[in-house]
Every structure is written in structure tokens, then in C-alpha cells.
Amino acid sequence: MSAREIAAAVRAGATSAAAVVEEHLERAEGGDGEVHAFNSLLADHARRAAVAVDRAVAEGRDPGPLAGVPVALKDNICTRGIPTTCSSRILDGWRPPYDATVVRRLADSGAVVIGKTNMDEFAMGSSTENSAFGPTRNPRDKTRVPGGSSGGSAAAVAAGFAPLALGSDTGGSIRQPAALCGVVGAKPTYGLVSRYGLVAFASSLDQIGPLAADVADAAVLLDAISGPDPADSTCLAGEAPRAAERLDAGVDGIRVGVVRELAEAEGMSADVVSRLRQAAEALAGAGAKVDEVSVPAAVYGLSAYYLIAPAEASSNLARYDGVRYGLRVEEPGGDVTEMYEATRTAGFGDEVKRRVMLGTYALSAGYYDAYYGKAQKVRTLIIRDFDAAYESFDVLLSPTAPGTAFPLGSKTADPLTMYLNDVCTIPSNLAGHPAISVPFGWGDDGLPVGVQVLAPALGETVMFQVAAHIERLAP
């Protein structure tokens, strides 16, 4: 059942939230030993929340638009009193003293959080192999990665453990795992969803967004969590665009630009590009005005991102010092600096160390202008090129990832090879624009392929409209 069908049935009293939650917990308990989508299943918490939803229905109160729908939450989203690990040893034992704004919005909409999902440590990675708790496996082929960093959330949806999940996306961390697991994943416009309670990685890029089995479910979930929040000063004021508003409107007359530079980017595999062309032709057949468009600076996003995101991370992760929460490692007789070093050395995995050092280097005297400063200027060029493209197009189209799900362990030895996964997803983060990955056919290996729809800032309504139609046209 889709999330929409579950909510409708619970609201109508045709089924109970308790029964829905029980069914999903059972499925997750049975199947997650192999998949490892979850860091923790919250059975008691979920059962209590389900009882509250069922009581609201029984008492004639509105249980909310997502009544009784189980949601899997990425483990970098704070849940009061419930461990939030970021899949890192450094947050060992930490129980946040507050809920993220999205967690409150989920509760207000009647949704039931059933577990916290595995991820690359602090959301740094594209395969969920950088987790201190071991990798997640792709439910479509358990010898393959689910993508990352929201790999646990994508796998939970693909395996049917939860109809909905939340992830976070700093350079593609919702969209790439969605593509590799054959589900839908969207990164909203920067500032559309509150980041209050999302553990910070790169603050000018991070956004929370939905993963779901279909576009309409993703739209309903996004609409439940978006909108202004006084607790996040970077959250946009004013009414949020409605993602679910025009899902059935078709694509007649919509102008769709296929981004040439991303389709031809380094490392794109032929089957992925051929699915993209096929999606573009299908849209044209459905009445869209499809053409190629050039966004020349887009491919340089990768280089800019891998300076900007580590720079911001090196600052954000300075807070993990063994003083206020999480892990502390002390050596007898050591001073506070030695405690910091011992704690951070034991608490962070290699990818986090790599990025913290890369960011520290890019920001240090003598290198700042050449690296961080240059990257910020490239960011401006990418925004300019997108703005120019959106003068002629309503949405843009590209692959989501360069290939299908790759075998576990095949890219861990060479960080740069792993980073190249993000070439198509990064430009939207740098620009602050929304983008969504929709499953569209399969690769030569029989694994799912995703097509990405990009839109200008606050263009969620048209983006979901086109995505919903691509889903209808998919083979």
C-alpha cells in the first residue's frame, strides 16, 4: 500500500495505525538482518505513536494527512531521548535533548517514526560504506551498495520496511541512493525545509527531503514538512510551494531542457545516458517541448563542492571535542588538547578525517584564495548558467548517477572515484535549487536507473508535476 492509501484507510477507520505499524515492524525485523537499513528500530516508540493516532480517529479528531504512515528517519535527524548517531562513534550514547522540526511536523501530520536509518558517517559518502556500524546492502541486489549517504533510508523504502523515509542531501545524498535503490528521492529548494535538529555537515548546502516508492507519496511527505520555522533563520519565510498540487497535470507545453554537459560528463555509463534519452523522447511524445541545453559551469560543480563542503564541515565538526556530549577518550595525566585529539582520532572514521583535513587545508592561509575563494566564484558561475537556462526552460533533465548500484567495496580504495558519483547531483546543492530522482527503467545489469528533474528555486510544483509524468511513462 502507498502512504496515501495507508493514511486514507487509517483516517476512514478501515484499518488501524497500530496494525499498519505492526505489519511494517514485522517486515523490518524479518528482513533487516540482511539489509541493515536501520541503526535502530523504535518498536515501542512507534507503537505508542500509533495508539495516539488511533485514539484521535476514535475520538473524531483529525489525525493528520499522514495518519498511521510509518516513516524511516535518517540517523542525523535529532529525536528527543532517542540515540542519534550519524553512524559515527563520536556520538556514542548521545540522546538529543530536543526533536528536529521535521520530527515534530511528522508527528503533527500523524506519521509514525519506526526507526533511525544507517548512513555514511556524518553524511559523507555515496555508498553508506562509511558507517561505523557497517554498510547497508541494496535490497535489489544485496552484493551491491544502496548508494549514499542516505542509503539506509533508500533501502528501507525499497525493501518495504517503511513507505516513506527522510534523508538529507548535501551533494546528492537523497537522490543518488534513491536512483540506486529504484525509489523516488527529492532535494527541496534550500530553505524550504527547516534544518533545525539536522546535524550539520555543510550548512550552506544541507537540506532534508523525502524518499518514497512513488512521486505522489514523496510530494505528500514534502508538503507535510516544508514551510517557515522560527528555529532556523535560513528557513524561507512565506508560503511554501505545494509539491502535490499538479501531479496529474501532464506535461503538455512544459519546456524541458536536457543538460548536455551532465549527460556527457566524465564516467557516465552508456545505459544510463540511453535511459535519459528515452525519458526525454517520452516526454516529447507526451507534449513537452524538449531540447538540449548547455549549462557549461555545471560539471565544475564537483571540484567546487569538494572544496566548499569540506571547508564548511571542518568548521561544523569542530564541535565534537569530548566536552559536552558523545564520546570522550582520555589518557592518564593528559591535558585538554590531548583529550580533544584522542577523542577525535578514535571517534571519526577515515572519510570524515579526510574531509576535515581537506577543508582545513582549503581554508588555511596561503591556499584560501586559490581553493575556497575560487570555488565560491565557480558557485556563482553555476547559478548564472542555471538562471540563463531557466529563461528558456521550465525544468531541466539529467542522469541522477553515472551508473547503477556498484558492488560493495569496489570504490572504497579511491575517494576521488567515489566522489565522481555526485557530478550530476551537486550543481543543484550549490545553486540552492530543487531536484528529484525518478526511477526510469534498468541498466544493462538489470538494476534500476534514475532520471533527475531539476527546477529553479521554489519550482517544486512544476518539478513534481514533470516527475509524476516521467513515472507514468517509465518502462
Binding site: 535560513t234 524561507l236 567546487a304 566536552v323 559536552r324 566564484k377 558561475l381 575517494p415 545553486a431
Partner: protein, 100 residues
């Protein structure tokens, strides 16, 4: 563009970031960071003369809220998460050079 990152540079940034690296780690990280920084050189192809840098995607300045008192976090709940606490304060190892 600056010269290639050296093992000395890696040791320096590790110290700044409060990370300890063994000799083998210094070699591995130096090679990996050099590969990423080499790839980043592709942006040299772009002319950025006169281009303003973008630090943030939103043009936000001084976002203010009404100055209304409200409950903050509970002190005991926050301190309960600390590795070590004394008299309602975070306790840390000695911070000055002298013996404890």
C-alpha cells in the same frame, strides 16, 4: 594554483584539526588529498575574473524574531549527555601547562 600538498602539510592540518595520524596514514592521506586537489584544478579553465563569490544560496541578512521570553533546553537534560560534569558544569582535563 599552489604547489602540491606534502606530507608536512597533512601533518600540519591534522594538528590544526586535532587529529593524530600514524606515519602510514600521513602517506595515504597525502596521496588521496593530492588526487582530489589535482582534480579540483579543472576549475582553472573557468574565467572567474570579476566574479563575486557565493557563500550561501539565499540573500538573507539579519533575520530577526520577536524578543519574547520562552523556555530553553532543560539544564539537567543537557548536562546528562556530558561525559563528565561537576557542580552543574562541564568538567574537562587540565587546560594549563602545569601539573594537576
Amino acid at each position: 594554483m599552489p604547489s602540491r600538498i606534502t606530507p608536512e602539510d597533512v601533518k600540519h592540518v591534522a594538528r590544526l584539526a586535532r587529529l593524530r595520524l600514524g606515519p602510514e596514514e600521513v602517506q595515504t592521506f597525502t596521496a588521496q588529498l593530492a588526487a582530489v586537489l589535482d582534480h579540483a584544478r579543472d576549475v582553472e579553465a573557468l574565467d572567474t575574473a570579476g566574479v563575486e563569490p557565493t557563500a550561501h544560496p539565499l540573500p538573507l541578512v539579519n533575520v530577526l524574531r520577536d524578543d519574547v521570553p520562552r523556555r530553553g533546553s532543560d539544564r539537567d537534560e543537557v548536562l546528562a549527555e556530558a561525559p563528565e560534569v561537576e557542580d552543574h558544569r562541564f568538567r574537562v582535563p587540565r587546560i594549563l601547562g602545569e601539573a594537576p
